[in-house]
């Protein structure tokens, strides 16, 4: 997703205004000339100045580019799906990993993702399961990272 310099400049100006607004609420410290709002304000001024210069430069140059332009890959459904699958995987992990557990969720996610990108469904399943077990072993057994177990203990009880 490509934005014109007008939009990029405007975005940084808006962000700078937001930072200045929020910084104005920071408590001034007693007896000090400089408080916790100083650096955020300076940062916002720098950002605002650069954003304004970018905006004005684009205005003066009469930039002909549309405000928002989609990258070439947006024209191919398959590639859009591929891109979306990365975000979908991340979101699914974020929302369901605690409930479902790493050892159940990740093989499914990897299977789906590899099958979608590569097209070989059964090989994808084998790779997905093996890679998940490998990552789990490495992080849980070797590095002692407590990855979420989710429903796995219930399966053990059965």
């Amino acid at each position: 997703m490509r934005f014109s310099n007008l939009v990029i400049g405007a975005f940084f100006i808006a962000l700078a205004i937001g930072i200045i607004f929020l910084s104005s609420g920071f408590d001034a410290s007693a007896g000090q000339r400089f408080g916790p709002g100083l650096f955020p304000t300076c940062t916002a001024l720098l950002m605002g100045a650069a954003g304004s210069a970018l905006f004005i430069k684009a205005l003066l140059q009469r930039e002909v580019r549309p405000w928002v332009e989609l990258a070439d890959w947006w024209r191919e459904k398959r590639l859009v799906l591929n891109g979306a699958s990365i975000f979908a995987t991340l979101l699914l992990y974020l929302f369901f990993s605690e409930v479902v557990g790493f050892l159940i969720l990740v093989p499914l996610l990897l299977w789906g993702l590899i099958a979608l990108l590569w097209g070989r469904v059964w090989t994808a399943l084998v790779i997905g399961v093996l890679a998940s077990l490998g990552i789990h072993l490495f992080f849980v057994e070797l590095l002692k990272v407590p990855l979420p177990w989710g429903l796995v203990p219930y399966f053990k009880l059965l």
């Binding site: 962000l15 650096f39 950002m47 995987t89 992990y93 993702l113 590899i114 997905g128 990272v145």
Partner: protein
């Protein structure tokens, strides 16, 4: 000193450390050789793993992986005409032109041999210059560190690719991210919006993983690569003819090494810029400039040495002042802090054995590059045939778990996702990412040093110019800030006069 070196050797030649260096080397070779995976991404992915190690294996893993990755990026350049990492992009066409002439073996051999020489040169410069600089830096106070940080950020904007204004926006964005969390001087929560997870600030590791890995993952899965055609050539005697090249181009080799070290030491400029500059200089001063672009080895000698020597160069300001020379050392500084090896001149006094161990790892990694690089070239076809459609999903899961593992907190995965989206949008829109990363790393250091200087000076801003070294660096920084404005005014004035 000898006691410290012996202590350092014991740390480095510990079987576990050697094993970690070996595994990280293979990891780096793989990441470098597969187009789309970069040395920075390899470093970012290694950090969560190194979190659980002692300092020397942790740092050793990063040094070995990055050195190998920078060299291995040359393999697909020669065989596929696709740079494995951005550091190989400068001479990809030249290298592939050599392959088309049937000289792939010579090109790959030169890439390996001159990478090793460049890496060793960078290490020697690091080992000799860092302690001297550290000795000098012992006189530094918070004022000098404040100005050095500002100078570092200024350099990062100047040398960043693309439009400088976007570089400034990127830098300011990085500085803003560094301010999120409880302010360490006044204890004021800033930009946390009541979220407890943000009180400690944005964790550097998930942010870096998101910033570097997620955009590359998206780029990889949304690109139409098709089937790769690997050049069919014999790759058995890659060392044949290399000694003749060293004898024929000694000045090119030395020049490439020196350019690499100098550019590497500049904040924001890394191995890729070193390679581009070195290749251009090689062509400019060549006796046969007309041969460049037709499969001429001279440019490869210069730039192949430059990109690996830049790695050592980038470590000099990182280790002595805590100012990263490139994106990789920006990540490394985070790791050094995590491991209690806070960069700065005192690290040379408090833990000299660690510093010597670090130098030893550099030597070892660059020497290991020779046999391991030879093996990587031998198995290049297999390496390049690994389907990216399988690799990318596994890397994604690795990113998720890596971001989570730092604090065992799912919030860090959100941070990674957010930073990944921002990183992707930045890259798509020509906003350079290096200034933002430097802003994140240096933001806190600059603010803390400024506040401490002001407390010492009783709020008098003139205190920033009272010390000779600090005042000089300050004046230099202010001159650099004023230079673009002065240049613009001068150009307007001379333009209107000539009109």
């Amino acid at each position: 000193m000898f006691e410290n070196i012996a202590h350092a050797a014991a740390l480095v030649f510990d079987p576990f450390t050697l094993f970690v260096i070996l595994v990280a080397s293979v990891f780096g070779l793989f990441f470098g050789a597969v187009p789309g995976l970069t040395a920075t991404m390899a470093t970012a992915l290694l950090v969560p793993v190194t979190f659980f190690m002692d300092p020397i294996p942790a740092i050793g893993a990063i040094i070995a992986a990055t050195a190998m990755a920078i060299f291995a990026g040359d393999i697909p350049s020669v065989l596929l005409r696709i740079p494995g990492t951005p550091a190989s992009a400068a001479y990809t066409d030249e290298a592939y032109a050599m392959t088309k002439k049937g000289n792939a073996e010579l090109a790959l051999g030169a890439c390996l041999v001159f990478s090793v020489i460049g890496g060793l040169f960078g290490t020697i410069v690091l080992a000799f210059s860092a302690p001297l600089l550290a000795d000098f830096a012992l006189q530094f106070s918070t004022v000098e560190y404040f100005w050095l940080g500002c100078l570092g950020l200024t350099c990062a904007v100047f040398v960043a690719r693309g439009e400088p204004l976007k570089g400034v926006c990127s830098l300011a964005f990085g500085l803003f991210l560094a301010q999120v969390g409880i302010d360490v001087v006044f204890g004021q929560p800033r930009f946390t919006f009541g979220n407890l997870n943000l009180s400690g600030g944005i964790d550097l590791v998930p942010a870096l993983v998101g910033f570097f890995a997620i955009p590359e993952l998206i780029r990889n899965v949304t690109a139409n690569y098709g089937r790769v055609e690997i050049a069919e050539q014999k790759l058995t005697s890659i060392f044949r003819g290399q000694w003749e090249l060293i004898k024929k181009y000694p000045w090119n080799m030395l020049r490439g090494n020196m350019i690499g070290v100098l550019i590497g030491a500049l904040p924001g400029a890394g191995a890729d810029i070193a390679a581009w500059v070195s290749y251009a200089v090689s062509k400019r001063f060549s006796k046969e400039p007309e041969k460049f672009g037709t499969g001429h080895i001279e440019g490869l000698v210069d730039s192949g040495a430059a990109n690996n020597s830049a790695l050592g160069g980038a470590w000099v300001p990182a280790l002595v002042f805590g100012i990263p020379g490139d994106s990789i050392t920006a990540i490394v500084i985070g790791v050094l802090y995590m491991k209690g090896m806070n960069p700065g001149p005192t690290v040379f006094i408090n833990t000299p054995h660690m510093v010597y161990a670090l130098f030893l790892v550099f030597f070892l990694a660059n020497l290991l590059m020779l046999p391991l690089g030879w093996l990587a070239i031998k198995f290049a076809r297999r390496l390049l045939s690994v389907p990216r459609e399988v690799l990318m999903p596994i890397i994604l899961i690795f990113c998720i778990v890596g971001a989570y593992a730092i604090e065992n907190n799912i919030f860090n995965v959100w941070v990674m996702l957010g930073m990944g989206v921002i990183g992707y949008l930045f890259e798509e829109n020509g906003v350079p990412t290096a200034p933002a990363i430097l802003g994140v790393v240096l933001g806190k250091m600059i603010e803390e040093n400024f506040m401490q200087s002001m407390i010492k000076a009783g709020g008098n801003i003139g205190g920033l110019f009272e010390r000779p070294i600090g005042g000089t660096i300050g004046a230099l920084t202010l001159t650099l800030w004023a230079a673009p404005i002065a240049w613009l005014i001068w150009r307007r004035a001379t333009g209107s006069r000539s009109a």
